[in-house]
């Protein structure tokens, strides 16, 4: 058995020994992945994970390093990048991935990627044009 495999077994038995906790956070993440474009409350996520909302907050942060809300925003931003690359308008993208208003979408997008959705789309367009040349 290699050193790495020994370490994996050791970490799994010490850090990931609670199956119920793991299943709760994995179920919640899958629920977010399948429903990110809808309005999702912490109560709904807690029900999906079969746990209380405050317990879920602690567990999700512990196992994934971010809160369910932070993960939901991350998921929506990743999806919005795909929509913008396909040429969807900023407003259509905003609503398609579950944000409620274009201004908050633009603010979050800029926080996460460093560019506003419009700037991102312009950059994509310029890159495609350059690739053709």
């Amino acid at each position: 058995m290699t050193f790495y495999l020994q370490e994996i077994n050791r970490i799994r038995s010490t850090v990931y020994s609670n199956e119920a906790h793991l299943m709760a956070v994995i179920r919640t993440r899958r629920f977010i992945n399948a429903n990110f474009e809808k309005e999702l409350s912490l109560e709904q996520l807690a029900r999906a994970g079969f746990t209380s909302k405050f317990h879920l907050l602690r567990l999700f942060k512990r196992y994934y390093g971010q809160t369910p809300k932070q993960y939901l925003i991350h998921k929506r931003i990743v999806q919005s990048i795909a929509c913008l690359k396909r040429g969807m308008t900023v407003t259509d993208t905003c609503f398609a991935v579950g944000f409620e208003c274009p201004s908050s979408f633009s603010t979050l997008f800029k926080q996460k990627t460093g560019l506003s959705p419009a700037e991102f789309q312009k950059k994509q367009f310029l890159q495609s044009a350059l690739a053709v040349l």
Binding site: T2, Y4, L5, I8, R12, R29
Partner: protein, 131 residues
């Protein structure tokens, strides 16, 4: 500041290029001749052609310390780096059919599933699926 190039040490650049494109499915991005047989050789993911480039770097052939480090990691079974996939099981089955050897079969590890394979160029590489 942006992440553009990530290097991975390889013992044979051509063999590495064949493995990373032919088996793993990466695409060659830059191939610039340097001194001797060395090349500035990078590949990118098909899914993210504008994403970070993986530099297949011949450092173990030129610096004893780099070779010793690579060998020590390999002997300990420690992956040099890791790539994310949507389905570790499917990727394991596909690569096994192509003759790729795994030192760790698909294994659940808390909130991820991992597997580790030999890239035939001196490194173990870990595949990761977020659960």
């Amino acid at each position: 500041m942006r992440v553009k190039v990530i290097s991975i040490p390889v013992l044979d650049q051509q063999k590495a290029l064949d493995f990373y494109t032919g088996k793993l499915g990466f695409v060659k991005k830059h191939d610039v001749p340097l001194t001797g047989d060395d090349r500035w050789l990078t590949v990118v993911s098909k899914e993210e052609p504008d994403g970070p480039e993986l530099l297949l770097e011949p450092s173990p052939n030129h610096l004893e310390a780099a070779r010793a480090y690579q060998e020590a990691l390999f002997d300990a079974g420690i992956p040099y780096t890791q790539f994310n996939v949507d389905d570790v099981g499917a990727e394991h089955a596909r690569l096994t059919r192509l003759g790729v050897e795994f030192s760790i079969e698909p294994t659940e590890m808390g909130t991820v599933k991992i597997a580790v394979f030999n890239d035939t160029c001196g490194n173990h590489i870990q595949l990761v699926e977020m659960l």
